[in-house]
Symmetry: C2
Subunit: 183 residues, 2 copies
Amino acid sequence: MDRRRRKTRNAIFEAFIALLDRHSYGQITVGQIIERADVGRATFYAHFETKEELLKALCRELFAHIFEAAEGEETAHSYLFDCQAPDSVFLHLFQHLQKDDNRILTLLSCRNNDLFLGYFKEELRELIKSREAQFSGRKDPRLPDAFWLDHIAATFTETLRWWLENGRKEPPETITEYFYLAV
Amino acid sequence: MDRRRRKTRNAIFEAFIALLDRHSYGQITVGQIIERADVGRATFYAHFETKEELLKALCRELFAHIFEAAEGEETAHSYLFDCQAPDSVFLHLFQHLQKDDNRILTLLSCRNNDLFLGYFKEELRELIKSREAQFSGRKDPRLPDAFWLDHIAATFTETLRWWLENGRKEPPETITEYFYLAV
DNA sequence: TCTATAGCATACAAAATGTTCGGAAACAAC
DNA sequence: GTTGTTTCCGAACATTTTGTATGCTATAGA
């Protein structure tokens, strides 16, 4: 990708993130974004058709990193859903999030929470689905597989939400333990 | 409240609900709403300052009914969180929702799901909070109260979401059992 | 150095927002 | 029924936002 294109794309993302931190998604206008990004109006529309598309692209970009990392860890013989395993994928997700090396924590903690946690859950569901066997042992036989799958993704996402909205006081190990105790 | 005022207020709600069923919240315009409600532009703004306010008012109105009913059942010696109890509040919530006497099921099943399930969870959390003692017995002592409280509300809400998004095939008794098995 | 591409400023049409006004109809209270 | 109040309407209006078009400049990458 052309360096110029990369740069403006990034400028738009940054401006969008900064605005999401202060205003609700619905109130943010393209005008505000391009002003903050210091980018021409036509340029914006050359990159993204609408504000919604911008949001989607941002989500894809951010979550790709997180879940790529989670995928990678699988090869290093980690366990997706073993309470005892000290290096479960869930723990790693919390650890990775806590580092806040990219701006994902900003977005997951901002007033527009729901927008991103929704995407997060979808991605997580796919991740869990691809390793269904690893955690079916924990399931009560009376529960349908589809329900159980969704339940794990939902519980993790809601645990994450709780952690974020309560100031992230607990270390990753503790909040992961809460998750395991709850699910 | 003046009858005229009641009528237009309702017409606006109905139009809004019908539109939410077909379009995403962000795309719905005040113009569409007033056209469908057959109401003057100035009239709309006399009732609601913004589209957001309309949404909030709608949520308040609808959920008030549901949770009022749930509150009432308490007096009839039901149990909030007893697996065995055949008349737990949770079962009653599912039963009440299945009847679909008001338009709440339409809204909870539409593409704008998240908007309403978020409000639902908030309301439910308050309900559970007010009866904290009734279900603390089920809690693992290592979990903080605040986490547990949130977890129950979240799990019920996500169970409800799953039920809705999978066509509500299970009878209230079954889906309530799933909830109890999961939480 | 050359060429394709990205960006800029500006201008513009179209749509949506939010406000104002005077007159008509419905209401409530007497 | 009369009266005073409230609500609605229609229409007009200013403002904001959206999305597109254009001609020119700067830069990337070969």
